[in-house]
């Protein structure tokens, strides 16, 4: 079986060593490089073409969020997982808008980290339970605060199905097969969903799905 190629980016050697130890216990994981700042991470992501990057946010030269944005822009196939001490919603939202697929806290269980890496390597998303809870609560509070109606109610049943599958990382073709509809219909549904929810990109769609508790 082809190993999962992983790049570690954290400015603390001790943390990188710890991560390496944990990840190497998985027989199909292979740590292909270590970066100690954002710029090095961008460079190594280009030269090594890893499947997954495990990224810290607070790093010198270039922070993890910016590094993610650059990596995802130049290599859309690379999945980035943030492993951070920041539990604030602002960091999570910013990271997700930059194209992050997983957001984990540094005190997460090892099992979560491993599960997250596996999930994002197949196009899915993964968030620490605490982060998921945070995003959902915040979403509800924002709706209350701004006294706006939940645009989710505007979606049809079929559109909700498409939204969930898309947020789970399925391609349009996979969605079409799963729902037994044409590819063109899937594309139309997608466009309507983005318009109704006022979303502009896949990362925003995933963020919305997490906030609504549609995906875990």
């Amino acid at each position: 079986m082809k190993p999962l190629r992983i790049l570690l980016a954290d400015d603390h050697t001790v943390v990188r060593n710890g991560l390496r130890l944990i990840l190497q216990q998985q027989p199909d994981f292979q740590v292909v490089g270590e970066a100690s700042d954002g710029r090095e991470a961008v460079r190594l992501a280009e030269s090594e073409s890893p499947d997954v990057v495990v990224m810290d946010i607070g790093m010198p030269n270039l922070n993890g969020i910016e590094a993610t944005r650059r990596i995802v822009t130049s290599q859309p196939k690379v999945a980035v997982a943030i492993l951070s001490m920041h539990t604030d919603e602002g960091y999570v939202v910013r990271s997700m808008k930059a194209g992050v697929r997983a957001y984990l806290l540094k005190d997460s269980a090892e099992a979560d980290l491993i599960a997250a890496i596996r999930a994002i390597s197949t196009g899915k998303s993964f968030f620490s339970p605490a982060i998921r809870k945070l995003l959902q609560e915040d979403f509800i509070r924002q709706l209350e605060d701004n006294e706006v109606e939940d645009t989710y109610d505007l979606l049809s049943t079929r559109e909700r199905e498409v939204l969930q599958l898309a947020a789970e990382g399925k391609t349009n073709k996979e969605i079409a097969a799963a729902l037994n509809i044409s590819l063109f219909t899937v594309e139309t549904h997608r466009a309507h969903i983005l318009q109704k929810l006022n979303l502009h990109s896949v990362p925003e769609l995933i963020l919305y799905a997490v906030r609504k508790g549609i995906i875990r």
């Binding site: 943390v15 710890g18 130890l21 604030d88 919603e89 005190d107």
Partner: protein, 421 residues
């Protein structure tokens, strides 16, 4: 400065003293002059009337029928002679150069007149008769006329003198007025100069104080940022690594149950320390402010306050440009922090609304609570002074609207002045 004020005061007191002295002198010399004039006028009048009366007496003497009457007239004449002489010498005592000549001819004339009268008064009825006509008409009357004329001239002189005295007084007063004007102008100019210098100095020291306070605030903020970063990144990461190591070690232990438990307790300890350190760092200065910008930092703060106190905090913020000057982000963040603190602690508010909006020229902030409110006229303190200071340092405007029972609204405007928003 001290010398300036001292000099000004000295100048004013000297001017005042000088003015008083001059006024007193003028008054004194004026009084003296008038007294002299009156004395002289009186003497002159006495001389004049003496001479008139003497003419009449001389005639009566000449025409007297019996020698007893003649004798009586003679005695009267001699009496008048004496008083005239006395008046003459009175006048002579306060004499000045100008009228000396006129006075001398007057007194010579008077002396000659009295000699004539004496001659006429020589005893003997026959002699009286003989001499009477010629003396009286040819000499006595002529002399008397000349003498009266002289007396008039002396009186004129006297009058002229008092006129001259008044003129002198006028000149003195004019000089005095000029002097007073000069001194007053000097005092005024000195006062204005001193006021300008003082105002400038005050302004400068105020500016220095403001600059100092700004430096202090900035230094404090920088220090907080550094300590927060160190705590969060260095200490926090080390604790993370420690927790990870402990976790890995526990895995390695396999069958040794006690060792695994110890390792897990180390891990948990490290994790709880990490939380403490993280919270401490966030309290000092939230990393969002530097990493994510003002609005995410404000939202975080709002959530934290709501969680801690139960007060409802709403943040309404348009997406502000991320490169808002650091000075402004920090200023707004700290002002909101202080305002929320006030709303909870002093106003007992149930909800607070924070609005931030930006344009190309300024950033505006409004914080509204539904708390107790206060009278803005007599409430300073409450951290308002500190807020106002921060905002002034950033070059902005600050407005507090509140009244008891009607909540409080703080409004802030920070002009960008060409700085990038």
């Amino acid at each position: 400065m001290l010398a300036g004020f001292g000099g000004l005061l000295a100048l004013m007191s000297v001017a005042g003293g000088d003015a008083l002295w001059i006024l007193r002198q003028a008054k004194r010399s004026n009084a003296a002059m008038r007294r002299t004039f009156l004395v002289r006028s009186h003497s002159l009048d006495q001389i004049r009337s003496g001479i008139y009366v003497s003419g009449t007496l001389a005639r009566d003497y000449v025409l007297a029928v019996d020698s007893a009457t003649a004798e009586q007239q003679r005695n009267k004449l001699q009496e008048i002679h004496g008083s005239t002489e006395a008046a003459l010498s009175d006048y002579g005592r306060s004499l000045n150069v100008e009228e000396a000549a006129a006075f001398r001819s007057l007194s010579a004339e008077i002396h000659a007149y009295w000699k004539l009268v004496d001659l006429m008064l020589a005893p003997g009825r026959e002699a009286r008769r003989q001499r009477s006509a010629s003396y009286f008409y040819n000499q006595l009357v002529v002399r008397r006329e000349a003498m009266l004329d002289l007396a008039d001239r002396v009186a004129q002189r006297n009058e002229r003198e008092i006129a001259a005295g008044e003129e002198t007084l006028d000149v003195t007063f004019d000089a005095f007025r000029l002097r007073l004007i000069v001194i007053l102008s000097l005092t005024l100019a000195g006062g204005i100069g001193l006021a300008v210098v003082t105002a400038r100095r005050l302004l400068r020291s105020q500016k220095e104080l403001e600059a100092l306070s700004m430096r202090l605030v900035n230094a404090q903020e920088e220090e907080r940022r550094t300590i927060a970063r160190e705590l969060h990144d260095e200490v926090g990461q080390s604790l993370t690594a420690l927790a990870m190591e402990a976790s890995s070690a526990a895995v390695l232990a396999k069958d040794n149950l006690e060792f695994r438990e110890r390792m897990h307790s180390i891990q948990h300890l490290a994790e709880s320390s990490m939380n403490t350190v993280r919270n401490l760092a966030l309290l000092l200065r939230p990393s969002m402010l530097d990493d994510l910008g003002l609005v995410p930092a404000l939202r975080w703060q709002a959530r934290e306050v709501a969680k801690r106190t139960g007060m409802k905090v709403r943040v309404q913020a348009e997406e502000l440009a991320e490169d808002l000057p650091d000075e402004f982000s920090t200023c707004i963040y700290r002002v909101v922090q202080e305002a929320l603190n006030n709303s909870v602690r002093h106003a007992h508010a149930r909800s607070v609304r924070i609005q931030v909006s930006g344009s190309s020229s300024d950033v505006r902030l409004a914080i509204e609570d539904d708390g107790d409110g206060f009278d803005t006229r007599n409430a300073r303190g409450l951290g308002l002074v500190g807020m106002a200071e921060r905002i002034r340092n950033a070059g902005g405007h600050f407005q507090v609207d509140s009244s008891p029972g009607h909540g409080t609204t703080l409004s802030v405007m920070l002009p960008l002045n060409g700085r990038k928003a």
